[in-house]
Symmetry: none
Subunit: 225 residues, 2 copies
DNA sequence: GGTACCCCATGCGTATTCTGATCATCGAGG
DNA sequence: CCTCGATGATCAGAATACGCATGGGGTACC
């Protein structure tokens, strides 16, 4: 599960993050409301833990804002304010759960997982991202630095494979097997041709090339050399 | 919202039901686990309040059972047991929230509504809209730019599916499964034909085409591109 | 018995993919 | 530092696969 923590208390945030990571989740942290709101709106999470009192933008405001934007990511509000009225306010603002500090980590974990359970009846990944290159698998669109890139079917599959293995060297055999479903060597420069066309579209108009040749081995998709 | 209360204490149950009804909800009550389980599995609710200690079938067992049956109705567990470990157990069993008695009714209401919000945001839609194309599912009518479009049943289902997945690429397999309920490939151009006919009606007389072919992948319904 | 709807087959036009030829680059070894 | 073989890049034409429109036959429901 991808979880976002918005909490200004460094120590509390680190503690939470550590625990959630140990439980096998992928955690992002924001130390103030502004950063939190930015991450919440630009990234996709399965659940969020939001502290109620925050410097910058207030916790409740964050929740109201993302709900207003149509984002339905489950939110657990964390607060020192434990009066019934405070809790009701937190839930009314669009929170899905409300936990009062101090809390037991085991309970927070159980609650977060209960929240995530329903939505993250985990659909497979829908978007891939490498540097400023983004691929939306559902819409079948690719953008780099916000600019649309339009690819042919095979190029799309090829790029998808490269992105799923970003940072690793991908051999020609791997590509033949997984992108072409050839279980033999066609003895042509098939792959080179497609890499070339992909480069034209993905790297040509940009400063930083992402597709790199690894002589004698294959190709790799990553930022620098 | 339709809410089911499973609680053996007559007085508590009546009090709860009264409050929820005053808040505008539709409430069913069960006084023991057996009846509760029966209602939970045979009726459809937006949320359930389940007491943990019940004569007959125990509260946690009820939750586990309905979850095991694939029912994802949000459940709030109510209990006198307030230790962290009890709460964790309740959530682990498949509960979505856990409230300890005695509780303030305002909080229970807020939590129940928070639970319901998530799913009931997905109450059956009655109209779909994509750009200037509108579909009324109840009246079974489609208009584009105010102008009536008259579709055959299959065309209607096809368009409905496309509209529900607007912006995403819809594959032939998805269409066969969901519009035709074929679980095999008919090896004909069935889909192409229907798309073609649909285009005649939906796109032909308008400037901006909405149905786009994504070669090698499927079709998509969206504005430009 | 008629009508509306749905499915299938055909042939055509075009986008996409693959091939082979040619050109460029890399790096080891003299 | 230069040469040469090996490896990779690019290009354009050929081959192919894919999607589209259309008409006809079948079927189910009035």
């Amino acid at each position: 599960m991808r979880i976002l923590i918005i909490e200004d208390d460094q120590e509390a945030s680190a503690y939470l993050a550590k625990g959630l990571k140990e439980a096998g989740h992928n955690v992002d942290q924001a130390g103030n409301g502004t950063d939190g709101l930015f991450l919440a709106t630009t990234e996709r999470y399965d659940a969020m833990v939001v502290d109620r009192m925050l410097p910058g933008v207030d916790g409740l405001t964050i929740v109201q804002t993302i709900r207003g934007a149509g984002n339905t990511t489950p939110v657990l509000i964390l607060s020192a304010l434990g009066k019934v009225d405070d809790r009701v306010k937190g839930l009314k603002a669009g929170g899905d759960d409300y936990l009062v500090k101090p809390y037991a980590f085991a309970e927070l974990l159980a609650r977060i997982e209960a929240l995530g359970r329903r939505t993250s009846a985990s659909q497979p990944e829908t978007r891939l991202k490498v540097e400023d290159l983004e691929m939306d698998l559902l819409a079948r669109t690719v953008t780099r630095n916000g600019q649309d890139i339009d690819l042919q079917p095979r190029e799309f599959r090829l790029l998808e494979y490269l992105m799923r293995h970003a940072g690793q060297v991908v051999t020609r055999t791997m590509l033949l097997e997984n992108v072409w479903e050839y279980h033999f060597d066609p003895q042509t420069n098939l792959i080179d041709v497609h890499i070339s066309r992909l480069r034209q579209k993905v790297d040509k108009d940009f400063d930083q090339p992402l597709i790199h040749t690894v002589r004698g081995a294959g190709y790799t998709l990553r930022a620098q050399r």
